[in-house]
């Protein structure tokens, strides 16, 4: 029944080594989001795709990039992970039929940087 699927659930990467997190959805939602959530904090929006249009948040570091090759998949690329990038990364989707609806989150990928 999983509708927003994130892989892997846990990811360990070395300091400075590029890492990619993936997200897929079966909802056919046209909007996909990436959030960063650090311990005991609220999720913080990094960027989102409206269909193929990429929308970056002003305070998202250049170290974070994203790709959306098709409706179902979206990737988060961290080019040179630092210790401060250790966090839970959440993917979410929503639909748009004139008004946004159905925000749905995946279970997240917990990233550890060593």
């Amino acid at each position: 029944d999983a509708m927003v699927i994130q892989n892997p659930r846990y990811q360990v990467t070395q300091f400075g080594k590029p890492v990619t997190l993936s997200c897929s959805q079966t909802l056919n939602h046209n909007v996909m989001y990436w959030y960063q959530q650090k311990s005991s904090q609220a999720p913080k929006l990094l960027f989102h795709y409206y269909d193929k249009d990429f929308n970056n948040e002003a305070d998202t570091p250049d170290n974070f990039q994203s790709r959306r090759p098709n409706t179902s998949f979206c990737f988060l690329d961290i080019r040179s992970p630092g210790l401060g990038d250790a966090a839970m990364y959440l993917c979410a989707t929503s639909g748009d039929r004139g008004r946004f609806y159905g925000y749905t989150f995946g279970s997240g990928t917990r990233l550890t940087v060593v």
């Binding site: 927003v4 994130q6 909007v31 989001y33 005991s40 904090q41 609220a42 999720p43 913080k44 929006l45 989102h48 409206y50 959440l90 979410a92 929503s94 748009d96 008004r99 946004f100 925000y103 749905t104 989150f105 995946g106 279970s107 997240g108 917990r110």
Partner: protein, 110 residues
Amino acid sequence: GESVGLHLPTLSVQEGDNSIINCAYSNSASDYFIWYKQESGKGPQFIIDIRSNMDKRQGQRVTVLLNKTVKHLSLQIAATQPGDSAVYFCAHGAGNKLTFGGGTRVLVKP
């Protein structure tokens, strides 16, 4: 900029009692509000939502109240159960972006 915040970081409640979690927001243009429940190591789970043209909405054991005059949102959980122990976030949707508040941890005492 817009912000959504919570008044109480931790709420301890006796099993069977009602819980009330509060949230303030600052963007008067906000039109969509969601309450999420997040358990340890999991993603946010949708509880209930409300649009700005409503002031109350009820679900199963949960009620959301929206006061647009004072920009205040609350979540009421009836007959709180041990499984309700989690962190609760309010979130505000404007356009196609969702902004989260700081979260309230609810601890249910047996």
